[in-house]
Symmetry: C2
Subunit: 355 residues, 2 copies
C-alpha cells in the first residue's frame, strides 16, 4: 500500500499483554491511541507505559481492537460496532465463535477478525512490548460481508505491528490452529502426563527429544482449556483422526507389522517436512553440528563469535541439558552444504565438535 490509510485514533479495548503491545506499536508510529479496560489498574499501568490515553466521550476511533478474554469477545465486539462507526477487529485465538455471536449485529460488515500468533508465558500490561509481533504470522479472517476497506485497515495494523498478515476465512483459521497449535498441545500433554508419576530413575534417561515434545504442555491449563473448548469442533475432528491412527499404530506394533509401522512413521516424516521453513520458503536440508561447551556464561558467547567468524548462518540452536557434569552439548543446525566448513572452522579454534 502506498498511502497509509490507518491514521487513527485506534481504540484498544482490554489492556492485557496483547492489547497493550498493539497500543505501544501504534504509539511508536505516532497514532493517537484510546485505551479502555474494566480494570482501572490495568488502564493506569498501560497509560503509564505510554500506550495511550483513556477514551473520552467525544473521541471517534477509526479502528477498535478488542483484546479481551475469549469468554467476553462476542459482547465487546458487538458493543464496539454499536457504539462507533469504526472498523472493529479482535485478537482472539478462535474466530468462528465471536463471529457467530455478532453475525446479526448491525454494522457487522465493519468487523474483521484477527489473531496475531504471538504471546508469552506472562500476561498483563507490564509484559507488553511493541516488539511482540516482530516477524510473527497474524491471521486476518474476514467473513462473507466484511468490507474490503475494513480488511485492508486490519492488514495495515498487522504490518504496522511488524507482523506478516495471513488471510484466512474464520472457519479455515480455526481448523488451521486446531492442527498447528491445539492438537499438538493436547498430545504433548498426554505424553507429558505419562511422566508425572514415573520413577526418578526412568526419568534420568530423558533426552532432548522428550523435552522438545512436551515443552508446550507446560502452559496454563485454565487458559488453554478455554481456547480448546472454544474450538471444540475443529479439535474433535482432528482428535478423531488421531485416535484412528493410534489404533492402527497399536495394531501394527502388536502384530509385528513392520511395514505398517514404517508407513505410519513415514507419514510423520512427511509432516515435519511440510512445516514451512524460515522466510516461508521450502525447508532447506540442514545438518546438526554438536559442540561441547563448558557450562559458564562466557563460553556460549565465544562459541557464537567463532561460529560468526566462520560466516555460516545458524538456522537453529539447541542446548542439551546434561544430567551430571559441567559440560553442555550445543547443537547448531546449519545448511547441509556448510556443515563441514563450520566444523573445520570451529575445530581450528579449539572446539570439540561432532556431527
Amino acid at each position: 500500500m502506498n498511502e497509509p490509510s490507518l491514521t487513527g485514533p485506534v481504540e484498544v479495548v482490554g489492556t492485557g499483554l496483547l492489547g497493550t503491545s498493539i497500543a505501544l506499536a501504534c504509539r511508536r508510529v505516532g497514532l493517537d491511541v484510546l485505551l479502555t479496560d474494566a480494570s482501572p489498574e490495568h488502564l493506569r499501568t498501560a497509560s503509564g507505559l505510554g500506550a495511550g490515553r483513556s477514551r473520552t466521550p467525544g473521541d471517534r476511533p477509526q479502528l477498535v481492537v478488542v483484546a479481551v478474554p475469549p469468554d467476553h469477545l462476542g459482547t465487546e465486539i458487538a458493543r464496539a460496532l454499536a457504539d462507533t462507526d469504526a472498523v472493529v477487529t479482535d485478537v482472539g485465538s478462535v474466530k468462528t465463535g465471536p463471529l457467530a455471536a455478532v453475525a446479526d449485529v448491525a454494522g457487522v460488515e465493519r468487523y474483521v477478525g484477527g489473531h496475531p500468533m504471538a504471546g508469552s508465558e506472562r500476561s498483563g500490561p507490564l509484559a507488553a512490548t511493541a516488539a511482540l509481533f516482530d516477524g510473527r504470522p497474524w491471521a486476518v479472517t474476514p467473513h462473507a460481508t466484511s468490507r474490503p476497506d475494513a480488511i485492508a485497515l486490519v492488514e495495515e495494523l498487522a504490518l504496522l505491528c511488524g507482523a506478516v498478515p495471513v488471510r484466512l476465512s474464520p472457519d479455515e483459521h480455526d481448523r488451521a490452529v486446531a492442527r498447528t497449535s491445539h492438537v499438538p498441545h493436547l498430545l504433548a500433554s498426554l505424553v507429558a502426563a505419562r511422566l508425572a508419576d514415573a520413577p526418578e530413575q526412568h526419568l534420568a534417561l530423558s533426552g532432548q527429544g522428550v523435552r522438545d515434545v512436551t515443552r508446550v504442555a507446560a502452559g496454563d491449563p485454565a487458559l488453554y482449556g478455554q481456547i480448546v473448548t472454544a474450538n471444540a469442533d475443529a479439535v474433535l475432528g482432528l482428535l478423531g483422526e488421531v485416535r484412528g491412527e493410534l489404533d492402527a499404530l497399536i495394531e501394527a506394533i502388536a502384530s509385528g507389522n513392520r511395514d505398517g509401522l514404517g508407513a505410519l512413521l513415514a507419514q510423520g516424516v512427511a509432516g515435519t517436512q511440510a512445516i514451512p521453513g524460515k522466510h516461508g520458503g521450502p525447508v532447506r536440508p540442514t545438518r546438526s553440528v554438536f559442540v561441547s561447551v563448558p557450562d559458564h556464561p562466557g563460553e556460549l558467547a565465544r562459541l557464537f563469535a567463532d561460529a560468526g567468524a566462520s560466516e555460516v548462518n545458524i538456522e537453529d540452536v539447541h542446548i542439551d541439558h546434561d544430567p551430571g557434569r559441567p559440560v553442555g552439548l550445543v547443537e547448531l543446525l546449519v545448511d547441509e552444504a556448510r556443515a563441514d566448513h563450520l566444523i573445520g572452522s570451529l575445530e581450528s579454534r579449539g572446539w570439540v565438535t561432532h556431527r
Copy 2:
C-alpha cells in the same frame, strides 16, 4: 573407583557410529582397541581414523563391546561370550530382547547390557567422535546373575567415554525408554502426520510449539520401526494408557467439561516439571527473554557476546523461524531471578527485547 581396572584390550564389534565413537574414546586414554566388523570397508575406515586395529587370533580382550544393529545383537553377544573369557556389553536401544537371546548361554554372568543415550542423525564410522557421549546418560543394565566386577567394568567404560552411568534392570530400562523416548516419538509422528496433507495456508500459522512437538518425528522410519518393535510390550502398555486418556480428553471436550479438560492439562504440566533439570537437579524456574535479531551471521555472535557480558547463564536457546522477514526472534531461557538483569543489560546495548 581409585585404580582403573579397565586396562584393555577392548574389542569393539561393529564399527558404526556408536562402536567407532567408543573405540576412539578408549584410544584417547591409550587403551589397546581391537576392531571387528562384517564390512571390511567400515573396518578400514575406523582403523584409518585411529579407532584401533583388527583383532588377531592371539588377542585376549578384557572387554567386548557389541555395537551391531538390533536384529543381530543376540547372536553377536552369544558369540563374544563363547569366543572369549572377557566381560561383554552392548549398546542396543532395547535390553530385554538381547538378554533373553543369551540367557542360557554359558558365561552369561560376564554379560552386562548397556545403552548410551547418544546418537546422531548420521551413521557410520565417519560420523564417529570420542565426544559423542559427553555428559549423556549411559544406562547400565545388569541382569540377575551379572558378576559385580563385570558391572563395574562396564560402568568404568561409560565414565571413560565421558558419560554418566545410570544403573537399571533390563526390564526397567525398556519401560523407561518406552516412556521417555519411544512413546514421545510415536505421538510426535501422529501429530506430524496430521500436517502432511494440510493446506499451505494453514501451515503458515505454524509457530515454535508445533515445530518442537514434531521435531523427533523426522527420524529414520526403518530404524525407529526396528527399535519400537523390539520394545513392543513396554510401548504397547503405555500406548494403551494414552488411548484411554485420549478417549477421556475427547469426552471432556465434546461434553464441554472444562474441569475434566483442565485436570488432564494439569497432569501434563506436572509431567513437564518431573523431567530432571540440568545437572540432574530439580528444574529451576526459568523465564523466556525474546530478542529481535537480524538474520545474518554476525548478529547471533553479537547477541551472545552481549548476553555473556551480562554474566547471566543461558539455560536454553530457541530461534523462531519467521515466515516472511529478515528478522529472527531468539528466545533465551534464563534463571527467573536473572531475567530482568539480562533484559536491562541487553537493552542498554541496543537490543529490542521482550519477555
